[in-house]
Each structure stands twice: as C-alpha cells, then as structure tokens.
Amino acid sequence: MAMNLNGVSYIVRETMRNLIRNSWMSLASVSTVAISMFVLSFFLVLTINLNHVTAVLQSQVEMKIFINRHVPRSQELALLRQARHWPDVRRIDFFTKQQAAASLKQEFPDQRDLVALISKSNPLFDGYDVYTYRPQAIPQLAERFHKESIVHTVVYEGQVVSRLDKLSNILRWVGWIVEGLLGLATLFIIVNTIRLAVFARRREVQVMKLVGATDWFIRWPFVLEGMVLGILGSLVADGLVDGGYRWLTGAAAVALPFWPLAPLHSVMSEVLMFTLIGGVLVGVLASMVALRRFLRI
C-alpha cells in the first residue's frame, strides 16, 4: 500500500482514463447512484419535514388557565411574570371571559338557549392560553399552575396532546425505518451496479495480475473510481434535491402558506452529509468487494 509520488500520479491518471474509457459504464453507475441517492434523499427530506411539522404542531398545543374572579390585576401579573421563566413555557396569551364565551357560541351556534344564557350572565372566567415547547411537559406544568392560589382551573386537552405525541413518535419511527430500508436497498443496488461494472472488466484485472501487478496496484484505481462514481452520483442527486426543494418551498409559499416547511439549508446539510458519505463509502466498498474474486489468480 506504500505509494510514492509516481504511484499517486499513476492512480489518478488511471482512474481518469478508466472513467473516460468506460464512459458508458461510468454513466450507468453514476446515474444509478444518483437515482438511488435521490430516492433516499427524497424520503430523508420527508422525514425531516415530518419532524419539523410535528415539532411545530406540538409547540402550538396549549393549556388554558382560568383565573379566579375578582383577583387583583397585580397578582395576576406577578404570576405571569414568574411563569414566563418556568422551563418549557413558550408563550402566555390573555383572554377575557367574553372571548371564552364567543368561542363557545361559535361552537354551538344553534343552541339558542345556551347562547342566550351565556349572553345574559356569562358564567365563564378570564384566563390565559399557555403554549409550551414540549407537550410532554404539559401535565407537570398544569400541576404547577394549579398549585397557585389565584388559579381557578387548568384545562388542557390531555388526550389530544398525548395522541399527537404518540402519532408523531410513530411517524418518526416509521420514517427512520423507511429511511433505513431505503438505505439498505440503495446500498445493495449501488453495490450490484459497481460489481457488474467491475465484472465487465474482469479479464483486464486478470491480465494485470499475470503481468506481476500487486493487488493494491490494481485495486487503487478501482477504489478511486468507485469513490468518484459515488461522489458524482451523490452530487447529481443533491443538485436535484436542492432544485426540487427550492421549487417546493416556492410553490408551497403560494399554495399552502400555513404549512411549515423545514428551511432549505438545514435540509440540504443533512442530505449532503448522508449522500456524500454514503456515496463514497458505498463506491469504495463495492469496488473492493467486486474486485476480490478476480484478484485471486
């Protein structure tokens, strides 16, 4: 494996030569790598966005605190000022009992008696919407608010939160499993492709061995070639993903303005990492595995 400068220049020259000479095979390999990586990236992007959306949705989950009637405003404010710095508290919004009544009326517009009742003597309280970063933290938070003397009741949609949480966990798991399966499939397909490409050149390898070349002397150009094929394929895939995602974010901004897409740079940095490292590793390993049988001579 020791290589002098001659050796390095030989390897680089050889690799370029082979890539160009077997341009047809190179093209097949690069396009296969590119497609596999693109499919993989596509679902990586989906997973990333899934995580992003659930994170955003979860952060919108809220808890309602109703304050006792006739509590002085100052006491309320004192609590608020404190609570704002409790861990997991993201935002606290005030609502009046009129607002609470209005939202109830909206939900039951056809229950005339109910509406009449609420309109006459509003039985509801003033209160606050509390938003959190971690929906899992809501029960403890609720407990904590409830201990405050000025708090009348704490309401949170426990079931909804835990369901959303479960669902997002399941989706995340499914995402990673799909990702893993696709990764394996990609690996297999790329290895197959590069093995077939090496297979088509098996005679060449055998002649090299018979002329006295060492295994590593033969292997290096193939390894470098596998690396280049992997990188080229990955870059093509990355280009497609980047272009596609830019288009998507543009289109989504118009069609689904409410939909929270993960930002381009964070998507691309993950995609680049996965595809490039994956491409290089797979290319190199596939070349080496494929060569093994033909070096035994």
């Binding site: 001659n6 082979n18 000479r21 077997n22 005679r203 002649v207 090299m208 006295g212």
Partner: protein
C-alpha cells in the same frame, strides 16, 4: 534455476495436463519445449508463473517454492519472469505503448525510465509505428509482438514464451528468435514452447519434448521431432 520435481497437474475436470514431470533448467539456458497439440507445454508454463498450482510434486523458481507462496509473493515471482502468453492477453483498452508501459508501471519503474525503455523495446519487435494503436487495431502478428515486447521490457531474468511466433511469418519469427538469442547471450534464461520446426532444427539448442503430459525426450542439442 528452475526445477520441477515429480510434478503432476490434474485439472478440476479430471484431465491430466502433466504427469510426473521432473526437469531442471539452469540459469542462462535456452530451451525449446516441443510436442503435439495438447501435449502439456502450456500446462508446464502456467505452473512456472503460478497461474496454476501443481497437483503433485514441487516447482522451484530461484528462491521461490511455488506450492507455499503467499499472495504478495506471487507478484514478486512474476516480476522475475517475462511471459509471452499463448493467447497474448493484451489489455484491450490500452494502446500498444500503454500495454508495454503497464508492465513497467506495475513493477514501480519511474516515468523517466518508462519513457526511455518502452520505445526501445517497441523498436526491437518492429512496432514503433503502431505505438498508439489499440490491440483491436492490430493484426494477429502485431498483437503477438506487443506481447513479446511486454515480456522483455523489464529485462527479466527468465523469458518464458508460449508459442510466440504462431501468428508470425517465417521471417519475422526468425527475427524474434534472434532477439531471444541476443537476450539469452546477455544472461537471461529463455524457455520457448513452439511448433516452429525449422527454427528448432536450425538453432541446435536444448529441446524438451512432451507428449501426453510426460517428458519423452530431453536433448542438449536437439531437433524438433524424431523423424526430421
């Protein structure tokens, strides 16, 4: 020194290529290997550069005991030898020049040495004009001469040629054999399997005749066949 000690070669399909062959070839010898088609000449030669391993017996090439050669040593063995293969075995995607240069690159020669030596050897076999052709752009005889050039380019201690003149006209064939004689005179050992009766008879060198895998004749100044 090359020594075969009671060597037999049995192929996987049960066929015997060589049967109980013992043979010693000293440094500096010039040896013709003759015998009818399918006698076992190539089988013997393939043992020497370790494309095949002997089924029984032992083959020695200088310090190498071929039955117990590790993989890294196989390459070292082959670098001592300049082999002309019966089926030529050129690299199809390289030009004449690159095919010959590859043998030098493989042994780690410097670019300067390669640039100097390769044209010399191509000149010797009469292929200077074809240096940038690919093998499929050459005639059968030209391909064979590229194989010869490649075998000689590293100034090997042993030149092992398996019917190197099969596709050459008698005149060119004679030139190639003259080249081998010249190399032999400078100290290399030459082993040449051949059907070229005229050349063998004319040269009066050691002749080993093989038939059905057995050495049937070994003469210091021999001729091609019994009848001639």
């Amino acid at each position: 020194m090359i020594r075969l000690d009671k060597v037999s070669k049995r192929y996987p399909n049960g066929h015997y290529g060589l049967v109980d062959v013992s043979l010693t070839i000293r440094r500096g010898e010039f040896l013709f290997l003759v015998g009818p088609s399918g006698a076992g000449k190539s089988s013997l030669i393939r043992l020497l550069y370790r494309e095949e391993a002997a089924s029984q017996g032992e083959v020695f090439v200088d310090q190498f005991k071929l039955s117990s050669l590790r993989r890294s040593q196989v390459a070292r063995l082959r670098r001592q030898l300049g082999v002309v293969f019966q089926d030529v075995k050129l690299l199809p995607q390289r030009t004449v020049y690159q095919n010959v240069a590859f043998a030098m690159e493989a042994v780690g020669a410097s670019t300067r040495d390669i640039r100097k030596r390769v044209p010399q050897v191509l000149e010797l076999v009469g292929l200077s004009r074809s240096r940038d052709n690919y093998p499929h752009q050459l005639s059968g005889g030209e391909q064979q001469r590229v194989g010869i050039a490649r075998a000689l380019v590293n100034n090997p201690i042993y030149v092992i040629a398996d019917e190197p003149t099969g596709n050459l006209d008698p005149e060119t064939a004679r030139d190639i054999v003259k080249l081998f004689v010249e190399i032999n005179r400078r100290g290399a050992t030459v082993i040449m399997a051949t059907h070229a009766k005229d050349i063998v008879n004319q040269m009066q060198r050691r002749v080993v005749a093989i038939e059905r895998g057995r050495v049937v004749r070994d003469e210091v100044r021999g001729a091609y066949g019994y009848e001639s």
